[in-house]
Amino acid sequence: MKKVIEVSNLTKEYKSVRAVNDISFDVYEGEIVGLLGPNGSGKSTTINSILSLLSFSKGSIKIFGEEMSPNLYEVKRNIGVVFQDVAVFDELSVLENIDYFCGLYIKDKSVRKEYVEDAINLVGLLDFKKFYPKQLSGGLLRRLNIACGIAHKPKLIFLDEPTVAVDPQSRNNILDGILKLRSEGATIIYTTHYMEEVEILCDRIIIMDKGSIIASGTSDELKELANIEEKVSVHISELSDEVIEKIKSLKNVEEVNYNGDVLVVIYKKGEDNLVKLMDFLSKNKIRYDKIFSERPTLNDVFLELTGKELRD
């Protein structure tokens, strides 16, 4: 597969902080790669360095095989960027905003008109064409922000936390749009601190923390790292310490947590863990509301690797 981006040994320091610490990774054509990490882990800094907006102390960036630089217009022509903050003109309508930013890439007016229409359809703003940004809800505004970044049909797209503070409907619309862009052939780099999104969206996930890459791979590969097999949660309103001790001694049980409301039993391995726990509870005449079993999440992976939660 063709490499679209090659990042080698990238290190970026702000005055006192080392925001990105010697990271290397490649992105292949047609992939959606997720950069996952908590706030401040260096995702935006990485993206802005790749885009030649930031100067960096060490490392090299190649895009489409060429050493990236601010004057590489032919490469830039094929890149679309959606920044973390909404960047649109309040004085321009939805349609005008998209047309303006698209016009920085596409000279031909009739082509541009068609592209702008496509972008509006992609993000579902057809009914809001004549609206001004101030009249749009947070979610719709984010969609406009995305449309402005991708209307010129770039081959490589950077999306920096495009779903922050967005309602579920807009979020779904945005995620669908991104999948559609990929199906049309775009390669996508997507940063977020929402693990659910990268699981749905990304072919490959790079987990960052404190400026370093701490793990990367597919969702399944990463979950291998979690070192746990199953997590069973039970809603119980009352539980004595004695019973908790008994549960701890059950087969395969790794860890037991009870917060007075929910009992979480973590298993390292084994089968039928859920059934066995249900048996145990009914034998001991313990009443419970709800019980369910989960596979480990990327949060568990993060917890295992860093000792802290992904969500702050």
């Binding site: 030649s52 960047a87 004085e91």
Partner: protein, 388 residues
């Protein structure tokens, strides 16, 4: 690409209500307030005759002018003049019998003890006479082959010619007749108003540059990651800023000329030139503030507005007295104050027939602009930033 940016720039700037308020509405509101306030002042000041003394040290022109200005039969009577010795004049001033006195010598001098409208009028008149004298002397020099004014005054014979010529000049050269009717010291306030509008126009440049630099805004970052050269975006946006700035100025000119009766003199092309150069200074100021300071658009706009207001105040927006204080006590301020340069350019266009002072102001404005632009270019040229 240039046209695309230019067009959208016009659109966004025009629709920015705050910008349009400061550059289009505010000057008109202020101008209206001025004219309301000054119409009262002028009416009450008009009839007052100012008591002064002249120490006659042989400057004929001075005597002539003051004589005619203190003619008791004239409606335009401005002064009540006494011709006295210097010692007497000092005494009169100390006892506040006179506003000030004039040493009418080769290099005339005005002595006053306060700063007020009367003192300002006196100084103004003397300035005017000096200006007038230099015209006469130039005229003589060209017609009588390099005879200096001092030499002329030496001989009685030439003195006669001199006063003859003076009379002739009075008819031929359209020097402003100094009368209480024409001596509108509020004119200067309106000139500062134009200066203010020129400089406020810099707000458009502030916004344009802010939206173009990646380290200032995400809109700027969008420009930076696009394949359009930053130079083109900056130039097209600044051109749009300049066009809107000038439009605001045209509206203000029309308003002040037709509604407020402000007089800008007879040389329209130089008035236009002053506006163009003045607006350029505003534009440069905007570019400078926007590219050098790393802060929000609002902060930058406030910096520009504060600078402009302070500049206009020092150039006489709240009264011509301030202008005289600065001119005499701290002339260095005028060298860095574009509002003073613009105001003074209009002032010299209206009051003086020679153009030296005018061109000095225009050149100062150009230098001011060039320096700011050059400094800004270092910052504008950056492509990668340490932090954004």
């Amino acid at each position: 690409m240039f046209i695309h940016n230019f067009k959208y720039s016009l659109k966004t700037l025009f629709k920015d209500k705050i910008l349009i308020f400061w550059t289009f509405m505010f000057p008109i509101i202020l101008g209206t307030l001025f004219s309301l306030a000054f119409s009262n002042i002028e009416d009450s000041e008009k009839l007052k005759v100012i008591d002064i003394a002249v120490v006659d040290n042989g400057n004929v022109v001075f005597k002539n002018v003051f004589d005619s200005l203190s003619d008791e039969d004239s409606d335009d009577r401005l002064f009540n003049v006494r011709y006295v010795s210097e010692e007497e004049a000092i005494k009169l001033l100390e006892s506040e019998k006179i506003t000030g006195y004039v040493l009418a010598q080769v290099k005339p001098k005005v002595v006053v003890s306060n700063n007020g409208i009367n003192e300002t009028v006196l100084k103004y008149v003397v300035d005017e006479i000096i200006e007038y004298q230099s015209i006469v002397s130039n005229f003589l020099a060209s017609s009588m082959h390099e005879i200096r004014l001092e030499d002329i005054q030496m001989s009685e014979f030439v003195l006669d010619i001199y006063s003859e010529v003076s009379k002739k000049m009075n008819e031929e050269v359209n020097i402003h007749d100094i009368s209480s009717e024409n001596l509108s010291y509020t004119m200067i306030e309106f000139y500062t108003l134009i200066a203010m509008t020129c400089l406020y126009g810099g707000i458009f440049a502030v916004v344009s540059i802010n939206n173009t630099l990646a380290n200032m805004s995400f809109k700027g970052a969008r420009v930076s990651v696009s394949p359009t050269s930053k130079k083109i975006v900056i130039l097209s946006r600044l051109l749009a800023s300049y066009v809107i700035q000038l439009l605001g100025l045209v509206i203000l000119f029309l308003f002040t000329i037709f509604v407020l009766d402000v007089d800008y003199g007879n040389d329209l092309s130089l008035v236009v030139l002053t506006s163009l150069v003045g607006s350029l200074a505003g534009l440069s100021l905007g570019v400078f503030v926007s590219s050098i300071f790393k802060s929000s658009e609002n902060t930058k706009t406030s910096i520009l507005i504060a600078f402009t207001m302070a500049g206009c105040f020092l150039s006489g927006m709240m009264g011509i007295t301030m202008k005289y204080v600065v001119d005499s006590k701290a002339p260095i301020l005028n060298k860095i104050n574009p509002a003073a340069m613009i105001t003074d350019a209009f002032y010299s266009l209206y009051y003086f027939t020679t153009r030296d002072r005018f061109w000095f102001n225009i050149i100062s404005l150009v230098i001011f602009s060039v320096i700011l632009i050059v400094v800004s270019i270092f910052s504008l040229r950056r492509q990668r930033y340490d932090s954004i």
